[in-house]
Amino acid sequence: MGLRDNPYHQAKVRQRRRAGGAWAGLLPVLAAGAAAPLAEPVLFDFIDAGAISAGVEGLALRGGGLVVAALSLHTYADLVRGPDRAVLDPHPVQARPLLWAIAWSTARDRLYLPIGLAVLAAPLLLAGHHVAWLGLVGVLLGAYAAGLGVGFAVHLGAIWVGRSASLARLLDLLRGDNPRMQAALIYAPGAALVVAGLAVTLGAAGLRGALDGRPAGWAWALSPAVLGIAGFALALPLAERFYVRATALLTEVDGQVDHRIAAEGARGAAGASPEPVYLEWTAGGRREHLRALRQAWRSHRAWAFAAWLLGLSTLLAVWSDEVDVTARIFAVAGGGGLLMAALPLRLAEGDPPWLDRALGLRPGAVAAGRALTAVGYAQGVVLPGLLGALRHPAREVLPALIGVEVAIFIGSCSAAALAGRLPKRAAWLYGGLAVVAWAWIGGGFWARLIGIGGAG
């Protein structure tokens, strides 16, 4: 069955045409275009140094890593928790055509990732390194294929793991406070990232080899794309076995979570205080802030863990022998911090515009609560960087981290304000602004402004 005869695909095409917003994917690409010259001092300093192959390998590794990280989450959101599931649940499903339709839709919606990164790498092309740029774009497209193929396969495999009686004890060890079955789903994006990330590492190293004159490197450069195709080929039979079965698993997980929330509500009604959440002490007496913290922990706690994981990369960046430590802090912690600053967008998701008014909450206080929650969560990215002060002069590390904190604060406030005022377009607008802001501070603007480091 081709896509033309695929009823799921045709239904999606029709809806997309009517829902509008087709321009939205252009925004990150335009933002990447605006960011390219701003980021040049940090991302493309290797051009002047003449270290093209090593520099391109680094770009392919980081860019490809970003693509597979994003797609490991998007494939979960579209396949496992996507809007199709609730519509299709009452009906029998033809899993292969459905997976093709979802994959096509996900691929189309996220095409801005490799294209945006290719545009961001334009300085390489403009400097006359055409083959290196084309090779980089090839690895990025391979990473895109790997993120999709591996993502779908791993998430469908996670349904099997979540239902498996023989793996129940392992899941119990990993699940923390979550229902057992959810443990498999929680760790699936990480597993997809590791598998696809390994292929990207090979691909980037292969590209470097090829640019250094070893033709076999081109074959290695293709490894992410090959893995992506293999992953999708594996996902098709997995979809037949597990797409429908996932519904019962998700209903079970949701039922257990609802039950826990109801029990907590009953505790609260009985006068007992509800279980404290991450960073609850920062709320003081502000009820909107407390509400945002509770919502963030109960619905989006993965963000807290992700922040500390990103903090690990901040630590590695400041602990390295890199001469220009400030540039690394801006690029790594700045990028991670601005990502965390997007949390208000998730917190506002699905809230009807009248809800806060009906609850008697002030929109400004709600936005402030969400912004402060994001700032709190983002500390996981920044704080490990303080350890860098033990290795490098504190006068370089501390102002750089303060710069990142300022960016996080402005980013969180912007995301919260956009989520409240323009809920439908907020994610795209914030994404575009964040890319430019990251390039701006990462490109050495802040460093020049306060006179630190060598990025400028």
């Binding site: 029709r14 029998p92 429908v244 079965r245």
Partner: protein, 230 residues
């Protein structure tokens, strides 16, 4: 008559709370069964277990002879299910949505007009579903459930939000489906409705079947349970 649904010893726990305990009953072809009980009694959980939206801790559900746990997709093909809050593609029209369901269920497009007629959306068939009221969405979902004439129809509080003429039309459609050999389970808390159309009443309370009686015994049920939010 043959059984289109057999439910045996069904159990479901959420944490330590037993939502459904040892529930057993069957539905024969051509039979309309009212599933009643107070809020939180376990009606919706029972329906989710029957439709395969949830997996039982113990017990079996067979729809048209197909074990729901072993072959959930095969069971779905034999069930027309309308959840309490049905989800549809908002940017399709009702006609397009029904045509889509007809295609994925493998029935001809000729069924679309008939389903539109049945759910009373003929005049609004070409409007986008996002413009529909809640009642109209329910009717469209009902059309989707009935379009392939499955042997079992499962309706979870599907009469809620319908105006009286729409509710009447829906009940007539369900009765007609029974006359054509389908079995129907209608979960509701409005007993007056059932009194007129149901063949049998299954009452659930605290996760257990506390009564399984012919519809003529509804008056006695009312007295025994003094209308528990029913």
């Amino acid at each position: 008559m043959s059984a289109v649904l057999e439910v045996l010893g069904l159990q479901k726990h959420f944490g330590r709370v037993a939502a459904v305990r040892e529930v057993s009953f069957s539905v024969q072809a051509g039979e309309l069964v009212g599933l009643v009980g107070p809020n939180g009694a376990g009606k919706s959980t029972t329906i989710q277990l029957i439709s395969g939206q949830l997996q039982a801790d113990a017990g079996t559900v067979r729809v048209g002879g197909v074990d729901v746990a072993a072959d959930p997709n095969g069971a779905r093909a034999r069930v027309g299910y309308v959840p309490e809050e049905p989800k549809l593609y908002d940017y399709l029209t009702a006609r397009e949505m029904l045509a889509f369901v007809a295609e994925i269920r493998g029935v001809g497009q000729g069924h679309v007009d008939e389903a539109l007629e049945l759910c009373g959306l003929g005049a609004d068939a070409d409007r986008l579903i996002r413009e529909y009221s809640q009642g109209m969405r329910r009717r469209a979902a009902l059309g989707c459930a009935m379009i392939a004439r499955p042997p079992l129809l499962l309706l979870d509080e599907s009469l809620n939000g319908l105006d009286p003429p729409s509710a009447e039309r829906t009940l007539r459609g369900l009765r007609a489906a029974c006359d054509n050999g389908a079995g129907v389970i209608l979960s509701t808390h409005v007993l007056d409705t059932l009194e007129r159309v149901a063949d049998r009443i299954v009452m659930i309370s605290a996760g257990r079947v506390v009564a399984d009686v012919p519809a003529s015994g509804l008056g006695e049920l009312r007295r025994r349970f003094s209308e528990p939010s029913v």
